[in-house]
Amino acid sequence: MTSIGTGYDLSASTYSPDGRIFQVEYANKAVENSGTAIGLKVKDGVVLAVEKLVHSKLLVPGANRRIQTVDRHIGLATAGLPADGRTVASRARDEAANHRDVYRSPPTLKTIADRLGHFVQMYTLYSSVRPFGISTILGAVDKDGPALYVIEPSGVFFGYHGAAVGKGRQLAKTELEKLKLSELTAREAVMEAARIIYLVHEDAKEKEFELEMSWIGPESNGQHVAVPKDLFDAAEASAREALVSELE
C-alpha cells in the first residue's frame, strides 16, 4: 500500500500507474472488517450461515438480518456494509422478478449472479459513485441442482462448492476444505456451518454475536427459508460442544 496518498485512490474511475483501482481495494477492506459469512453447496441443497456481530445490547434479537431472500429458491448472505447488502438484495429481487416476467420461469442462479455481477461492476466505473463495500454469497437450488456463487466488490463472480467471506474467511475456508461437501446432506451441512461460524468467532475473540442460518433443500421444499428452530438449536448446541471439547 505504498501508493496510498499519491492521489490515485480518490476516485473509482482512475487507475493507479501500476494498474490498480484503489477504491475497489478499499471496498474489500470494508468486507474484511465484517462478521464472517459462509455458504455450503452440498449433495441435495445449499446452506448459508452468518456470524452477525451485535454492536449493542439494546438491539432487538434478530434485528438487521444479513441473510435475505431473493426468490422462492434463491437466498443471499452478505459481509460488509449492511446497507449495501440491502441495496444488492433489492436489486437481486428485481432481477429475479424481471426474469420471471420475461421468460415465465424461475431464474437459474447463474443468470442472477451474472446480472448482479454487472450491477456491482457498474459502481467501479464512475467517480460519482463508490463501489459496494460487500461480498455477496448467493445460494440456490434451481433446475440444474444446488448452486453457490460469490460476488466481490469489483463485480467479479465465481461459483464455489464452499465459500467464506468476511473477517474469519481464512480459517473458515480451511475448515470447509476438510469437509466432503458433495457427500453431505443439507441437514448435516447445517451442523457443520454452525460449527464453523462458532469456531471462527472464538478464534477472533470478538464481542457478542448472533448466528443466522438459512437453507434450501428437500426438507425446505426447495425454498429458501430460515433453518427450523429445532435443527437450529441442535446445531448451535453441538457447535458450542465442539468448541469446548477442542479447548480441552
Binding site: R72, A97, R100
Partner: protein, 266 residues
C-alpha cells in the same frame, strides 16, 4: 434508436444536417409509422373464455368448482384448461371470463406472493387480502377503461375462518355463503342457496361435494359453453387441495323422443 437494424448507422442526410449537428440517435426518422400499433389499445371484448365457477361454504371450509373448458366464441377450443388457481397456502381463485386476462392475473399474484415470501416477516397473505388486492386491481383497470375481463371467486381458509367472496371486471365485490359466476349465477345459484343456506356449519365435505356435483351437472345440461370435465377445489384448515379432472355422469336417453335433437329417421 429503433429496432430495425436497417435504420442503424444510416448515412447522414446532408440536405437535412450538413454539418452532422445531430447525434445519430436524434436524427429525424422518416420510416413509415404504424399508427394503429402506436395508439393505445383497450380490451373491448373477451376472446377465449371460461364459463361459470361455483363455490359454497361448508363445515370445514370452502369448496369451489369449475369445468376445464376455454371456449373460442361458441367453439369448444381448449378442453383441458385449469380455471382454479391456488394462491399461497390458504387461497384459491376461480375465474370465468377472458382466460388470457386470468393468466395475467395469475402472474401478478405470483409476483405478489414472491415479494411477500422474500419479506420473511412472519406474515402471509390470506384470502381476505388476496380478494381486496384483486378488487383494487380490477377497479383500477376498469377506471382506465381497460378492464381485466373476468368474474372471479376467491375462497380460502385461514386462522380458523372461512372466506368466500366475488369480484368482477368492474371491481364490484360481494360475499355470501354460496357464490356463482356467469351462467351459473342464474342456473346454479338458486340450487346452491336452497341446499347450503342455514346449513353452512353442518354440511360435511361429502355432502358439499354432492351439491357441487349436482349443480355442475345441471349446468352441463343447460349451458352450451360448458364441459363435462371439471375440477373441485377444497380449502380447509389442512390447506388447499385441487382435484384431478372429474367426469360428470349424464344421461341423454330423453333426447330420443325429441325431434330435431339427434339423428332423425323422418
Amino acid at each position: 434508436m429503433d429496432h430495425f437494424p436497417l435504420n442503424w448507422g444510416r448515412p447522414r442526410n446532408d440536405g437535412l444536417d450538413l454539418y452532422g449537428t445531430y447525434p445519430i440517435t436524434q436524427r429525424p426518422n422518416h420510416a413509415p409509422k404504424d399508427a394503429f400499433s402506436a395508439g393505445i389499445q383497450h380490451t373491448q371484448q373477451p376472446i377465449v373464455t371460461g364459463t361459470s365457477v361455483l363455490a359454497i361454504k361448508f363445515k370445514d371450509g370452502i369448496m369451489m368448482a369449475a369445468d376445464n373448458l376455454a371456449s373460442y366464441g361458441s367453439l369448444a377450443r381448449f378442453r383441458d384448461i385449469q380455471r382454479l388457481h391456488p394462491v399461497g397456502a390458504h387461497t384459491v381463485i376461480g375465474a370465468s371470463g377472458d382466460m388470457s386476462d386470468f393468466q395475467y392475473i395469475q402472474s401478478i399474484l405470483d409476483e405478489l406472493m414472491i415479494d411477500e415470501f422474500a419479506a420473511h416477516d412472519g406474515h402471509t397473505l390470506g384470502p381476505a387480502e388476496v380478494h381486496n388486492y384483486l378488487s383494487e386491481l380490477m377497479y383500477a383497470r376498469r377506471s382506465k377503461m381497460d378492464p381485466l375481463w373476468n368474474s372471479l371467486l376467491v375462497g380460502g381458509f385461514k386462522d380458523g375462518k372461512r372466506f368466500l367472496a366475488f369480484v368482477d371486471l368492474l371491481g364490484t365485490t360481494y360475499s355470501a355463503s354460496t357464490l356463482a359466476t356467469g351462467y351459473g349465477a342464474h342456473i346454479a345459484q338458486p340450487l346452491l342457496r336452497r341446499a347450503v343456506e342455514g346449513n353452512e356449519d353442518t354440511l360435511t365435505e361429502d355432502e358439499a361435494r354432492k351439491i357441487i356435483q349436482q349443480s355442475m351437472q345441471v349446468l352441463f345440461y343447460r349451458d352450451a359453453r360448458s364441459l363435462d370435465k371439471y375440477q373441485i377445489a377444497t380449502i380447509t384448515a389442512a390447506g388447499v387441495h385441487i382435484s384431478e379432472s372429474l367426469k360428470l355422469e349424464t344421461s341423454w336417453s330423453f333426447a330420443e323422443g325429441i325431434r330435431g335433437y339427434g339423428a332423425q329417421t323422418q
